[in-house]
Symmetry: C2
Subunit: 235 residues, 2 copies
């Protein structure tokens, strides 16, 4: 069966259309199969500190209509306001694993999320939880579940947070005013599953390892009652 030039061109034209549609379809399918990916893939954001000090009042109460009258600059995006935004984007849970926590606005954000009924868990360092200005006591008093590194010779030096179990905030930044306002620091915010999952596993592992109830079972009863109950309870 012979084919005319016209038929050949028509066939090639239809093939090209089919190719274009096919590529589009494959792309569409790839996007549908990975719902967490935006046009550039999962969220990857880097924040550097120190951050300028600006008003962040609108982030705590986005429905507020009256303007804030505080003397700080308003309406400016900073590394710190981005960090707060990511933290306050939590809808379900917040897992926090942080060496030193004394920054008041971050503490206010964590208390706000707890007040909204989110599952908030905080893991911190044994020595640094009781330094001057530490917010760990305030979190505990508010009823937030707090555990600390039980070992007396090891520092829990992580500084990461998991927002709704799918957004990771991690870096060099301790949650202190000095770190936010003075130091040279970095924070990565990402929803990349290959990065988020190991941190989720690490949080679960450390949370269990520092459960004072479990720990007591492995110790002579005298040690358990003497040292760990005071420091190691969850509230």
């Amino acid at each position: 069966m012979q084919m005319s030039l016209g038929q050949l061109l028509k066939m090639l034209g239809l093939g090209a259309v089919a190719l274009t549609l096919g590529v589009e379809w494959v792309n569409w399918l790839a996007r549908r199969l990975r719902p967490w990916r935006g046009p550039q893939g999962p969220l990857k954001e880097v924040l550097f500190f120190p951050s300028p000090i600006t008003c962040t009042e609108h982030l705590y109460s986005p429905d507020r209509t009256s303007p804030c009258l505080c003397p700080l600059p308003h309406g400016i995006d900073t590394s710190f306001s981005r960090l707060l935004e990511h933290l306050l984007s939590a809808c379900v849970s917040l897992e926090l694993c942080v060496f030193s926590f004394s920054q008041l606005e971050l503490s206010r954000a964590v208390l706000l999320l707890h007040g909204r009924g989110l599952a908030v868990r905080v893991l911190t360092d044994r020595d640094y939880m009781s330094i001057t200005g530490s917010q760990i006591g305030a979190l505990r008093r508010a009823g937030i579940c707090v555990r600390h590194e039980l070992s007396k010779v090891v520092h829990m030096h992580h500084k990461f947070a998991l927002v709704d179990g799918r957004k990771l905030i991690t870096g060099s930044l301790n949650w202190t005013a000095t770190a936010v306002q003075s130091n040279k620091e970095n924070v990565i915010v990402t929803e990349e599953p290959e990065l988020v999952q190991p941190y989720r596993d690490e949080f679960s592992r450390l949370w269990e390892a520092n459960d004072p109830a479990n720990h007591n079972h492995h110790l002579p009863s005298s040690t358990a009652t003497k040292g760990l109950v005071t420091h190691g309870n969850d509230v």
Copy 2:
């Protein structure tokens, strides 16, 4: 011009072949245009510490044929050996921006890379560079270009490295023996350009900002000669 059923089928068949070849070609092109991407995209690895102490001798001299006779465990992959491997994979350059640097094996690796002729630059904290056990002096004496945070009131608290300008190593881990062997720490190793590029920019920015030569121009000559030349020279 009418088309027979046979011609239509042939056309659809050719279209399908063209579609398949086209999709393959697009995938191939995408891979070629992004040579850093493996099957799962760019490298993303998470390392947790503390790390067991094992022999890492083979990483410094991979061509060595005689077995190492040291008493440490051999042939075991640990977080620390992975960190060393990534560091020693450098072929062209190493930019290091680290708050505290006293771990001897990491110092040996940096000295080795410098000895191989790589462009090594180290940026560190003003106060911590002179603590007991700091390796900064040894790096400077070996001729490595070292700068430190010039401000007296600010800490350079980063802990990141850039290997060949395309692999980022960053996290909570200071380059100290305690951090590696005792603390709960995390490190991300990635070649994700969206993460690497901001750190490259930050390193360049901080490197320039802490160039003592530039700094001297902006200060009264008395201040420049008094304080900065002693601490701020590159070697």
